[in-house]
């Protein structure tokens, strides 16, 4: 009897945080997409943290690069604290990552509780393609992750949580990244190269983790693997032998 109920429960329950239906957002880099199982899963929550306050702009750029694909609307929800500490998204600079400022709706919230509520509301809106929540302090528990994942799964939106510092809580997010800036490699000294990101995938519910140096390519309007990365070479994948689920 009990076993039967358990089975039925199991059949009803989808694995939290991972939905198969809505598909994925490919990064366009085979190495990364393979690890992710085709790309960043839609309808799930992804946590992206900067290694420190100073790297927040880089993490923001990475998040925008992931979120801004397509023509749908983006909702950016931030705590008041985040805006005063690290600045607000600046319209004229957003185009760099393919996000026309018209597509952005910004929401300022006073408390983390409001942030999660607003994210959930925004994820349930059909016209919204991605929701970026900038959580300054505090933790996000499994219940909140589950709620956000379910809301995101309704219309296959991307739920992205942006943090200024990595946190060590037992989050059940589908993937967890630590993304900071990496030195660019310009063609000539003292010139500007394309922005580079040191991206560490520290948690992945679908497969192995890994670290890459990515570069935003203005011409392709997507991330590419930084090939001539100076001075550090891209570290090897964490578990390259493991087959992707």
């Amino acid at each position: 009897m009990l076993a039967e109920l358990r089975q039925r429960l199991q059949a009803m329950e989808k694995p939290a945080g991972i939905e198969d239906g809505p598909g994925a957002v490919p990064l366009g880099i085979a190495a990364v997409d393979n690890v992710l199982g085709g790309g960043l899963a839609r309808g799930a929550l992804h946590e992206i943290a900067a290694p420190g306050e100073a790297h927040l702009a880089a993490a923001t750029g990475f998040v925008l690069g992931l979120a801004a694909g397509g023509r749908s609307r983006i909702v950016w929800i931030a705590e008041d604290m985040a805006r005063t500490e690290s600045g607000a998204p600046y319209g004229p600079g957003l185009d760099q990552f393919n996000l026309a400022p018209e597509r952005l709706l910004t929401v300022a919230v006073a408390r983390a509780r409001d942030l999660l509520w607003a994210m959930e509301e925004a994820l349930r809106c059909r016209a919204v393609g991605a929701v970026i929540g900038e959580l300054r302090h505090g933790e996000i528990d499994a219940v909140a992750v589950r709620r956000l994942s379910l809301a995101a799964a309704e219309h296959g939106a991307l739920a992205l949580l942006l943090r200024a510092k990595p946190v060590n809580d037992a989050s059940t997010a589908a993937t967890r990244w630590i993304v900071g800036a990496a030195p660019s490699s310009p063609a000539r000294a003292f010139e500007f190269g394309a922005p580079r990101f040191a991206a560490h995938l520290t948690r992945n519910r679908r497969g192995p983790t890994g670290s890459w140096i990515l570069e935003w390519s203005d011409t392709d309007e997507r991330f590419v693997l930084a090939t001539h990365s100076v001075p550090v070479a891209a570290p090897p994948l964490h578990r390259p032998h493991r087959k992707v689920a």
Binding site: H55, Y90, G93, L94, L105, V107, E121, A127
Partner: protein, 498 residues
């Protein structure tokens, strides 16, 4: 309102001119020969035991406002007549109570239960009603017979300046009846046009405008309850029922609601007003209910029903034409969805917190991009900005702009060049690549120009440090403008790039 022992006279004193005088007294005091306007010292001399409290004009005004709010249950046209009167335009409202007498009986009963003394009069002009309420019989009805009502009343009932009343009294003109039939031109010549205007207004020969405290809503639906309601679900259910009626009226005139107000009348006289705005003209009862769900959640405990609400009113405060829409076309539908989301978020978090980015016609970076509440329809201006950027070949802009530029300590190789290293928020950054300068002149035509650093020209640099962090820095002030002995230009960080 105050249970004074009947034997002890009670008075309120306040400053009039330079003297402490009595501004209000109770019946016991009146019986002992005190009167309003008497000096406090004199009253104290007559009755040392007189109980006196100091006047609090602000609290009085607030109380009057509160009662005025409460009177909204009778009519939307309520005017405060300071210090102690209220004018209600009940034209077309009396049928709700089956007649004027019943309305007055209801009003008098409720006011009396609340513990106020009152005088009520109904007349077809403001002047006549005021005169009857202040000087005539309480609860009088004078519709169509203003003349006979006013004639026996003293001239002060016409709301004249005390000096005019005194001057008329010296001529033996004490009652309104004394001047009704006098020749008009000598009166005007002697006392000015004001006297006859007041008379004409009271008699209904001249229209007197009434400007209500609150704008009168173009669409109103209300419901009274036999038993007070207190639960939030009941309030929301009422909102939806009222919304259905509003939507019907809105549809007939082709309008949609932009701002909706819910007024809840508590049994003890408190009035709660809760408003919600919308991004586009709204004509859907379900959506209206959804807005108030968010508003009530945001208020949560502040709804405070007390012993319950005995009346609810839903009014469309602001309506806009709402052309019938064709539904089912993808792009337009997305816009509707986003607006709905913005409405829900605004209702819960506040309209100021949900914003769109817009571009403004300015070359100063912090003014060039601004945000406006998402519910405010505005032209975003980004198309024009992109044209300008292409034409002027603007340098790339940062991803995040700080609320205000933050000062940094910077070391530059040459005075006009980019910094070699700088310290921001206690961290030292070694610059390895720099791009610039992009010179942005100050707003020389205005005093401060919106610049935090006064009105100086700025040289902007895009720099990258050793670890790949990118910043948007500027130097406020140019060395070319530097006069000897002045402070050297200072450096700021204004934004961060990815």
């Amino acid at each position: 309102m105050r249970d004074a022992a009947p034997a002890l006279p009670f008075a309120v004193a306040g400053k009039r001119g330079n003297a402490e005088t009595l501004v209000a007294i109770d019946d016991a005091a009146e019986r002992r020969g005190l009167h309003i306007g008497m000096a406090l010292a004199q009253a104290r001399a007559m009755y040392p035991a007189l109980d006196v409290v100091q006047e609090d004009a602000d609290a009085d005004a607030q109380l009057l406002e509160g009662i005025a709010d409460w009177c909204l249950r009778y009519t939307p046209l309520v005017v405060c007549d300071a210090p102690d009167g209220l004018l209600l335009d009940i034209t077309g409202c009396t049928h709700l109570y089956n007649g004027e007498h019943e309305l007055v009986a209801d009003l008098a009963g409720r006011i009396e239960r609340a513990g106020f003394a009152y005088r009520i009069a109904i007349a077809s002009t403001i002047g006549a009603a005021w005169a009857a309420a202040h000087c005539g019989e309480p609860a009088s009805y004078a519709c169509g017979e203003e003349r006979s009502l006013l004639a026996p009343l003293p001239l002060s009932a016409l709301r004249l300046a005390p000096a005019t009343v005194a001057a008329l009294a010296r001529l033996g003109l004490k009652r309104i009846g004394d001047i009704i039939d006098l020749p008009r031109s000598p009166l005007t010549a002697r006392f000015g046009a004001g006297l006859l205007r007041q008379l004409d207004r009271a008699l209904g020969h001249e229209h007197e405008p009434l400007s209500p405290r609150l704008p009168v809503a173009p669409y109103v639906a209300e419901q009274r309850f036999a038993e007070p309601i207190a639960r939030e679900e009941d309030v929301l259910g009422t909102v939806e029922r009222l919304a259905v009626r509003l939507v019907f009226a809105l549809e007939r005139r082709g309008d949609g609601a932009r701002r909706i107000e819910l007024t809840l009348f508590r049994t003890d006289g408190e009035v709660r007003r809760i408003a919600a705005g919308t991004s586009r003209p709204l004509r859907d009862a379900h959506d209206i209910r959804a807005l108030f769900v968010e508003r009530l959640t945001a208020l949560a405990d502040a709804l405070d029903p007390g012993f319950g609400f005995d009346m609810a009113r839903l009014s469309v405060v602001l309506a806009e034409p709402c052309p019938p829409e064709q539904i089912g076309i993808g792009g337009a539908e997305d816009g509707v969805e986003i607006d709905r989301l913005a409405d829900r978020l605004s209702a819960r978090l506040g309209a100021q917190r949900v914003r769109h980015l817009i571009a403004q016609d300015s070359h100063i970076p912090e003014i060039a991009a601004a945000t406006v509440p998402a519910q405010m329809a505005a032209d975003d201006g980004w198309a024009a900005f992109r044209r300008h950027r292409t034409a002027a070949e603007l340098a790339p802009r940062p991803l995040r702009l700080l609320m205000r530029p933050e000062p940094i300590e910077a070391v530059a190789e040459v005075p006009d060049g980019p910094p070699l290293r700088f310290r921001w928020r206690r961290a030292l950054h070694e610059v390895i690549a720099a791009d610039g300068p992009e010179r942005i002149e100050g707003a020389w035509w205005s005093e401060h120009g919106g610049h935090p650093s006064g009105n100086l020209a700025r040289d902007y640099f895009r720099v990258e440090d050793k670890s790949g962090l990118r910043f948007w820095l500027f130097r406020a002030g140019l060395y070319r403008d530097l006069v000897p002995g002045a402070v050297a230009p200072s450096w700021f960080v204004h934004g961060t790039y990815a």
